[in-house]
C-alpha cells in the first residue's frame, strides 16, 4: 500500500507546473500558430490559462549567457527572454493563485540581493513565489559577471548550499538591524538586514533540479520540490527511493519534498493521431539545420556543406573537448567525444541512418507522454498513486496550444479519476503543493 499520509483523506494528486524555458530547440517557432516568445502578452495568456487549469506553478527558465555555436550566437532556436523575477512580478498583478517560480543562479548572484528580490516577489504575490536553484560552473557564463568564472566545478553545490542557507536566514523573519544576518565563509560573505517581512507562505518555495550527487544532496537538504529528469516509470521509482532515503539524514520526512519531473506531452484524440503528432513535433524540432548544428558542437568544425539527409560527415572531429557555449551539454558528455562519435558512426552504419535520423535517435527530447487524454491521465494517476512522482513540470512545444490541450483535455480526465483538484483550496504555492509551513527561522 503506498504511503498516503501527507494527502490526508484526499488520496494522492497530480501536481502540475509548466516549465517555460523561453529558449531552446523544443519550441516550434516556425509554426504560424505559435505565439511570440518575447511578448509579455504571451506570458500573461499562458499564466492565466494555467490558472484556469488549476496548475500549481508557472515556472520560468533562465540562462545567463545567450547560447552560441562556434563563437557566434546560435541562430536556429528561440532565444532572448526576460529577467525571470521581473516578468513574474508583472504576472503577479494579473493572476491570483498560480505559483510563480523563477530559475535563478546561485553562482552568479549576490545572496542578499537575490534573496531580497525573491522575498519581494513572494510578498507582492501574496505568497506565490518559488526559486528554482541552479548553478553554473563554466567560466564562459562568468564572462558576463563581476567575478568571472570564479567557482570550481566541484564547489558549485557547496556554494549553492551556503547561498540557500543564507537566504533562509534572511527569510526567517528573525534578523533586525541590530542582529543582521552575518555570513562569512570563503564562498558566501555578506552582512544584511532583510527589508521584506515573511510572506503568507513563510518564504519562497525552493525548487532544485540538479541530478548529480551534489545536486541530490542539496535537494534532500533544502528543496521543497525536485524538478527531476526521471520520468520513465522505473527510473522515477528508483529516483524517488534514492531521494527519500537521503532525506532522513537531514531530519526530513518523505512528505516534505515533492518530485515533479520535467515532461513534454503530445495529446491526440486517438492513439494513432497522438503518435503522428509526436512524430511531426520531433521532425520539426530536429530539422536539417538543427541536425547539422547538433553535430557541429561535437565535431567542433563547420559542417554546413553536409546534407542532413545524407551520411555522417566523413571528416574527423577537431581535437579538444566540447566547448560549453551551447550551454546545454551535460557534464558527462563534456569528455570522451571521440568515443561518442565513434559510437554514432557504428549506429548509423548498422542502421543506415542519415545525419538527421541519427540526431533524432541520439539527441533525446522525445515526448515523454504521448496518447489520448484518457491514456495520459491513466498513466499519471498510476505514477502518483504509487508515489513514483507527485506530478510533472510540463515543457511546452507550441504556445499556447500544447498547454491548452492539457488544461482542456487532460485536466478533466484527471479530475474524473479523483487525482486532481477541482478548485484551488489554498492561496499560496506552498498550499497548492500540500507542503508543510516552514518552521520559523530554521535554516
Amino acid at each position: 500500500m503506498p504511503d498516503q499520509q501527507h494527502h490526508g483523506d484526499r488520496g494522492p494528486r497530480v501536481h502540475l507546473g509548466v516549465f517555460f524555458t523561453g529558449v531552446g530547440p523544443q519550441l516550434l517557432w516556425a509554426d504560424p500558430a505559435n505565439a511570440s516568445h518575447h511578448a509579455v502578452e504571451t506570458f500573461v495568456e499562458v499564466a492565466q490559462l494555467l490558472e484556469r487549469g488549476l496548475f500549481d506553478a508557472f515556472f520560468l527558465g533562465e540562462g545567463l549567457r545567450v547560447r552560441e555555436n562556434r563563437g557566434k550566437v546560435f541562430d536556429l532556436d528561440v532565444s532572448g527572454r526576460p529577467d525571470a523575477i521581473t516578468q513574474l512580478a508583472a504576472l503577479a498583478a494579473v493572476t491570483d493563485r498560480i505559483g510563480l517560480v523563477a530559475t535563478q543562479n546561485a553562482t552568479y548572484n549576490y545572496p542578499a540581493d537575490l534573496a531580497r528580490r525573491l522575498a519581494s516577489l513572494d510578498f507582492i504575490s501574496g505568497g506565490r513565489a518559488g526559486w528554482n536553484v541552479v548553478t553554473t560552473d563554466n567560466a564562459w557564463t562568468g564572462e558576463n559577471f563581476r567575478h568571472g568564472g570564479w567557482l570550481p566545478h566541484e564547489r558549485r553545490y557547496e556554494r549553492a548550499t551556503q547561498f540557500v542557507e543564507a537566504a533562509k536566514q534572511l527569510w526567517g523573519g528573525g534578523a533586525t538591524a541590530d542582529t543582521p544576518v552575518d555570513v562569512h565563509t570563503d564562498l558566501v560573505s555578506f552582512r544584511a538586514t532583510p527589508t521584506v517581512p515573511p510572506s503568507p507562505q513563510g518564504r519562497p518555495v525552493l525548487f532544485q533540479a540538479g541530478d548529480s550527487d551534489g545536486g541530490r544532496e542539496l535537494a534532500a537538504r533544502h528543496a521543497d520540490v525536485v524538478f527531476s529528469r526521471h520520468r520513465d516509470y522505473q527510473e522515477a521509482l528508483a529516483y524517488a527511493h534514492d531521494l527519500r532515503s537521503r532525506l532522513k539524514k537531514y531530519g526530513r520526512q518523505p512528505d516534505q519534498v515533492r518530485i515533479l519531473p520535467g515532461a513534454s506531452v503530445v495529446v491526440g484524440d486517438t492513439p494513432r493521431e497522438a503518435e503522428e503528432k509526436a512524430r511531426w513535433v520531433r521532425s520539426e524540432q530536429v530539422n536539417g539545420p538543427r541536425a547539422i548544428a547538433y553535430l557541429e558542437q561535437y565535431w567542433g568544425t563547420d559542417l554546413s556543406a553536409y546534407d542532413p539527409d545524407g551520411p555522417l560527415p566523413d571528416i574527423e572531429p577537431s581535437a579538444g573537448e566540447l566547448d560549453p557555449s551551447r550551454g546545454t551539454i551535460a557534464v558527462e558528455r563534456r569528455s570522451g567525444k571521440l568515443e561518442l562519435i565513434a559510437g554514432w558512426r557504428d549506429l548509423a552504419a548498422e542502421r543506415g541512418l542519415s545525419i538527421r535520423q541519427l540526431v533524432l535517435e541520439v539527441s533525446g527530447g522525445h515526448a515523454a507522454f504521448t496518447g489520448t487524454p484518457g491514456q495520459i491521465a491513466d498513466t499519471w494517476a498510476h505514477y502518483v498513486r504509487t508515489r513514483a512522482v507527485d506530478g510533472f513540470n510540463i515543457t511546452p512545444h507550441l504556445l499556447p496550444s500544447s498547454l491548452a490541450d492539457i488544461v482542456d483535455k487532460i485536466v478533466p480526465e484527471l479530475q474524473a479519476r479523483g487525482v486532481y483538484r477541482t478548485e484551488y483550496e489554498g492561496a499560496t504555492l506552498r498550499e497548492h503543493l500540500d507542503l508543510p509551513a516552514p518552521s520559523a527561522g530554521k535554516p
Binding site: 500573461v44 541562430d75 560573505s189
Partner: protein, 358 residues
C-alpha cells in the same frame, strides 16, 4: 531642450519622504501593501504625472519594510498604461548584467515605459550586503559611469531587427545582429550580449542626480538646486528636472505645524533639495516660476497619504489648465514619447546594411 510645459514626476516609495511619515499614529498603513501601491500609482497616472520613481536601498527603512524597487515597478507594469515606471537600482550593490536585464525586461513588460533612477549606495551597511567595503569617491564615480555605459551597450546588443524567423533557412535570428559588447570597466568586464532583446524604447530612460556627475550620460539629470541647471545642460543632459520636497497645508492643519509635529517624532534632515511648505496655491505659483528654467519637477512628498491627494487634486489640475505643466499626450506610447526624447539609434546598427536589407 525645452518642452511645452513642465513634466511632473513623483516619488512613490514608502509612506513619505519625511522619516516620521510612517510612524505617525493612524498614518498611511504599511508601505508594503501592494493594494496601496497600486492605488497610489493609479492615482498618479490619472492625475497626469509623466512617471513615478521608486526609491530604494538594500537596507530597511527606519520603520516598516520595503520591497525591491524593480519588483514593485514590474508589478505595476500590468496595472497601468501611460505612466512611466522608474525604479532605483544601485550600481554599487548589484551585478551590472542583472541590472541591465531587469530594466530591459521592465521596458518590455510595460511596452516602453521603463526608466532607471541610478542609485549608488555606498555606506557601510549597503556595501556589506555584497560583502564589500565602501568605495572611495573616485572609484564610486567610476562605477556609476561604468555601469551606465555597460547597461547602455547591453541594451543595444540586440538590434531591433535581430529576430527574423526565416522558415526557409531555419534561422530564428540573424546572428550578425546580436552582438558581444566586450565592455571593460575599472572593476569588472561584461562580454554580452544581453539575454533579453532590445527594449522597446531602444534605451531605457536613465535618470541620475547631478551629484553623481553623469549629466553627460543621463537622459534626465535631477538637480536639488537651480544653480546646477546650466551645468547639467552644458554637460549634455537632454532634460533637467528639479527635485522638490513638498508639504502642503491641509484643512485645519498648516503644513508648517504638521512638519513640526512630525519632527518631534523624527527630524526630516535637509538633503540639499529645495523644500516647499505651504498652501497648494502657493505651490502652483512656485512651479509656474520654474517653467522654462527646468524641464520638469520630481516631487518628494513629506507624507504621501496627506500630500499626494492635495498635489493630485489641487496643484496638477491648476497647472495643466494654465499650460504650465503637461502630462502624457494621447499619441504618446512610450515614456520617451512623453518626455519628447527620440528613440536612440542602435550603436551596432550598420546603416548601409540596414538600408539594403530593408
Amino acid at each position: 531642450m525645452s518642452t511645452a510645459g513642465l513634466l511632473l514626476a513623483v516619488e512613490a516609495a514608502d509612506a513619505g519622504a519625511d522619516p516620521a511619515a510612517g510612524r505617525y499614529p493612524g498614518g498611511p498603513g504599511s508601505a508594503l501593501d501592494p493594494r496601496l501601491l497600486r492605488a497610489r500609482v493609479a492615482a498618479a497616472e490619472r492625475a497626469g504625472f509623466a512617471f513615478v520613481t521608486f526609491g530604494d536601498r538594500p537596507a530597511p527603512p527606519p520603520t516598516g519594510g520595503r520591497l525591491e524597487a524593480g519588483v514593485r515597478a514590474a508589478y505595476l507594469s500590468q496595472l497601468t498604461r501611460r505612466i512611466g515606471l522608474a525604479p532605483m537600482l544601485h550600481v554599487t550593490t548589484t551585478e551590472p548584467f542583472h541590472l541591465a536585464t531587469q530594466l530591459a525586461s521592465l521596458d518590455h513588460a510595460s511596452h516602453g515605459r521603463a526608466a532607471w533612477v541610478v542609485g549608488a549606495a555606498n555606506d557601510g551597511p549597503a556595501r556589506a550586503t555584497i560583502g564589500a567595503a565602501p568605495l572611495d569617491e573616485a572609484a564610486r564615480r567610476q562605477e556609476v559611469r561604468d555601469v551606465i555605459d555597460v547597461a547602455r551597450a547591453l541594451w543595444d546588443s540586440w538590434e531591433d531587427d535581430a529576430v527574423i524567423k526565416d522558415v526557409a533557412t531555419g534561422r530564428f535570428l540573424d546572428n550578425d545582429k546580436v552582438h558581444h559588447v566586450r565592455f571593460e570597466g575599472l572593476s569588472f568586464s561584461v562580454i554580452g550580449p544581453l539575454i533579453t532583446p532590445r527594449p522597446p524604447q531602444g534605451q531605457v530612460v536613465v535618470i541620475a542626480t547631478d551629484s553623481l556627475g553623469v549629466a553627460d550620460r543621463a537622459d534626465i539629470t535631477l538637480v536639488g538646486d537651480l544653480s546646477a541647471v546650466e551645468g547639467a545642460r552644458a554637460a549634455g543632459s537632454p532634460l533637467v528636472f528639479a527635485e522638490l520636497e513638498v508639504a502642503l497645508d491641509r484643512p485645519g492643519e498648516p503644513a508648517a505645524s504638521r512638519l513640526e509635529r512630525l519632527d518631534s517624532l523624527a527630524p526630516w534632515p535637509r538633503t540639499g533639495r529645495a523644500r516647499f511648505t505651504g498652501p497648494a496655491a502657493g505651490l502652483t505659483d512656485f512651479l509656474a516660476g520654474l517653467a522654462g528654467r527646468v524641464d520638469g519637477v520630481l516631487f518628494h512628498l513629506a507624507e504621501a497619504a496627506a500630500d499626494f491627494p492635495a498635489l493630485a487634486d489641487q496643484v496638477l489640475p491648476a497647472l495643466t489648465a494654465n499650460g504650465v505643466a503637461r502630462g502624457p499626450r494621447p499619441d504618446d506610447i512610450t515614456l520617451r514619447d512623453v518626455l519628447g526624447l527620440a528613440r536612440p539609434v542602435n550603436r551596432f546598427a550598420d546603416p548601409v546594411r540596414s538600408k539594403y536589407s530593408a
